[in-house]
Symmetry: C3
Subunit: 136 residues, 3 copies
């Protein structure tokens, strides 16, 4: 069992954005030298998230963000947190701050249409993504 920790930075451009980081995770996996096991993609921020969804058609992330923004608008009567980003904290907990991907024969074992996204909900900002690769 081998454990390799890596991380990388990304820059987001909008307040709400889904950024495809699949190739960055794939690169980390290649550098780790691990063949079989799993990969944790972890977001150390509380106003962002990691999700897996279709990355072939950019309309999919558009529609996911549209839905999240309609369900959880920027402002809501009753919010107490003074930074004005309570919506971002809510979205972060709903999507979750990590995803787990299996690793098989040195490749990410994603489905045909699956890509890994960093979800920005309080950008633009510079953010960090942690990747832990575990296996043999």
């Amino acid at each position: 069992m081998k454990i390799v920790d890596m991380d990388f930075s990304i820059s987001t451009k909008d307040r709400n954005q889904m950024l495809d980081i699949t190739s960055r995770v794939r690169l980390a996996v290649e550098q780790s030298g691990i063949t079989n096991g799993d990969v944790i993609v972890y977001c150390p921020h509380t106003t962002a998230a990691i999700t897996i969804n279709e990355n072939a058609d950019p309309d999919v992330p558009h529609d996911v963000l549209l839905t999240l923004n309609e369900l959880i608008p920027h402002h809501r009567a009753g919010y107490r947190h003074c930074e004005g980003n309570s919506d971002a904290h809510c979205k972060s907990s709903l999507l979750g701050c990590s995803e787990l991907v299996l690793l098989k024969n040195k490749s990410l074992n994603l489905g045909t249409w699956q890509g890994i996204f960093f979800c920005e909900f309080d950008g633009p900002r510079t953010r960090r993504v942690i990747v832990q690769i575990r296996g043999q």
Copy 2:
């Protein structure tokens, strides 16, 4: 540390359906020969999800699907994705495409009322579930 990869197919019958796959996962665990560790149940599709919830009363999955359908109706003004299943992609990211279950003394360490569900949001379809069992 031993890693065993398995997968199985399921057929869903409705557009939205929660299918209890606990016994299928339990069978994979038994076949793996692993005693202690954990199990990843992974859905390689972007219009479906994996969740853990009560599987004793079928009214629970009914009410979870009812809630999801009211929050995220099939059609929403502004959707761009031309396949007409943007709602399914949203539900997939909200519930997530994997769950992790602990393995103790050759058994799934689920709570008394917990079962593992495959959540179909764009069926009926034939779907694949990947199970990775890791441990000693």
Copy 3:
């Protein structure tokens, strides 16, 4: 590779409550003697969840719960589950019953503002949290 299983009990005071359990998880990690790897925080209940979010300002959990309660009110026309806690089951699946945290140099590798919360959605109750620490 070493696997250590622990658990602890907590008591919630409200029907909906986010309880910071970071120090309890940290204590389990210290007792495990494991230096690098990961920690699974698992909730064996179907009307509760685990999430990671900001624990510096108590207004953040307040606003997350406010949003969840407005999206998923206690009662909804069409609910069939006779226990009157269908909303709690929905929230449980949306937030998820586990979180995974990386472990580095004997410490939880959380972001600056991240804490681990047990989310009660059908309290007050006595609940159990399972922690599995894995690594070297």
